[in-house]
């Protein structure tokens, strides 16, 4: 009886999350492109040979990793600061929390377009300020060495609020008498952060790091709208490369290979994350 209530949801989750992965593996050992009329034909692993020597794939993997680690690190650090700030009591706290949550709630494509305009050369405000200051234009979005930094800034702006809210929830579970007792024993504010706040916040940090790594690894909307993967593919992510292969080159077999390999690499990171989690005793003893 209970299982009947659960089954419809589980079946739908299974169809949308599990079947695609099996299908990608299957497609990755088939040729399915314009050449075959999008009818899958076994091709003895030539997709896999191709991906091993595909410089663009490895370049995109490098870019995706660089993007993921830079943005997640900055986001976590900023989110800790903002969460500590918004955890204090002051007037209008509710409305300030809501405003700081706005970037997260807006569609990524909308603000990616907005950020592209902000970084526009020469009419965007950033270039205008640089010009007014006499530094001259830096052309950030058309510089293959700098463009990815612009995407990191936009991503930090967009997703820090999400982590901040999770950490804020964590902060609110810490009883305030802990701090008072620590203060009575002569501990400073900075010490109390490392002795009380940080250890007790750890499970929340791990959850948000795991979640953000997985999501940043699949970054797509932001890059597609903000830079289209350019200049010179310098900002192209694995998700975008898979999309280009299927929708522009109509090579479903190779696109599936990219996705499957990306998934395997991501699992590697998840296992790493799992080891981190299993070290956190509090997480295990909580009631999950």
């Amino acid at each position: 009886m209970n299982i009947l209530l659960l089954l419809p949801a589980l079946i739908l989750i299974f169809i949308v999350f599990v079947i695609p992965i099996v299908r990608y593996y299957w497609l990755s050992i088939h040729a399915s492109s314009v050449m075959t009329g999008l009818i899958p034909v076994p091709n003895n692993g030539s997709n896999w040979l191709r991906i091993l020597s595909d410089d663009r794939f490895w370049q995109d993997l490098f870019q995706t990793l660089r993007f993921t680690f830079t943005s997640v690190t900055i986001e976590i650090l900023l989110a800790i600061v903002i969460a500590l700030l918004l955890n204090q009591k002051f007037q209008g706290r509710g409305i300030i929390r809501a405003i700081s949550l706005l970037p997260w709630a807006l569609p990524t494509t909308i603000m990616a377009l907005g950020w592209r305009w902000i970084f526009n050369t020469p009419y965007g405000p950033i270039e205008q300020i640089f010009t007014l200051l006499g530094i001259g234009t830096i052309n950030i979005l058309s510089n293959p060495h700098l463009a990815w930094i612009a995407t990191v800034i936009a991503d930090v702006w967009k997703t820090t609020p999400f982590i901040m809210i999770i950490l804020l929830a964590g902060l609110q579970t810490i009883p305030s008498d802990l701090y008072e007792a620590f203060k009575l024993e002569g501990g400073t504010e900075i010490q109390s952060f490392f002795k009380i706040t940080f250890p007790l916040l750890q499970p929340y940090l791990i959850i948000s790091i795991l979640f953000r790594i997985a999501q940043a690894f699949g970054v797509f909307d932001l890059i597609q709208v903000m830079t289209g993967g350019g200049p010179a593919n310098s900002t192209e992510s694995l998700g975008l490369y898979a999309y280009i292969n299927s929708m522009r080159f109509l090579d479903f077999g190779y696109s599936a290979t990219i996705i499957f390999l990306t998934f395997i690499i991501l699992i590697g990171f998840c296992i790493l994350g799992w080891l981190l989690i299993s070290q956190s005793k509090r997480f295990l003893s909580s009631e999950i």
């Binding site: 659960l6 809501a98 949550l101 009419y123 709208v225 998840c270």
Partner: protein
Amino acid sequence: MKRNTILIIILLLWSLSPFLWQVYTSFSTTTSILKPFSFIEHKWTLQNYIKVIESNPPFWRYLLNSAIVGSTSTILTLFLAIPASYAISKSNNHQRKITKIFLFLTSLFPYVLLFLSLLEMARKLNIGNNLLALSIPYSALSLPLAILLLSSAFQDLPNDIEEAARIEGLGLVQRMKWILFPLIAPATASTAIIIFLFSWNEYPIALTWISKSEMITLPVAIARIAGSSVFSVPYGAYAAATVLGAVPLMIIVLLFQKQIISGLTQGAIKG
């Protein structure tokens, strides 16, 4: 000024200024857009908004499409998630733990990677270009988080209330309707808003499933605008489009901030 006040002002500026810059641009004439910091000769206009509203298909159409997908996805997800969450909350500890870990892992999954297989399914079943069909993958993607949130809400309910109702002879459907559902209403509201926001904002699947321009959702419409404007300078109309696209969501966030925050935080604590 105290240190915190300054930090809060910086936070507000950082959160709002990219959006305010769009607002500023959207009300500027094309010549003023080219010289954004010469405030004295700045000229204001509504022309950009008129352009966007008069475009074909009209802009409100995208908002309507997104609203339709958002509502149907939310309803379908809750319809599936509430019974499933109830079942999980009543199962034994071991089963509950395993199901929750499985759901937690699926909710981590970067769903962008699913687009290709989902596109194949849509083609095979011939449900591309159908807004209502889009809510099927959206529900599936929202279900893990929705079930995690709602099953914790069910677990938090004291058992005696339902037990008493059972002894009174109320069946499961009646208990659901008269007792359980009202009690988990706050959690349901939080979950519903988060699903709605997700479905409203979702991009890769909407992009690949829908090609008819009168059926595309707001994020896809904005990306199309972006794609067509790579080299064009008169940005005013695009800025107006981003503002019109952002305002409904800002209203939702400001109205439902409590539910959104409690939904997200419950997800972190109980998940």
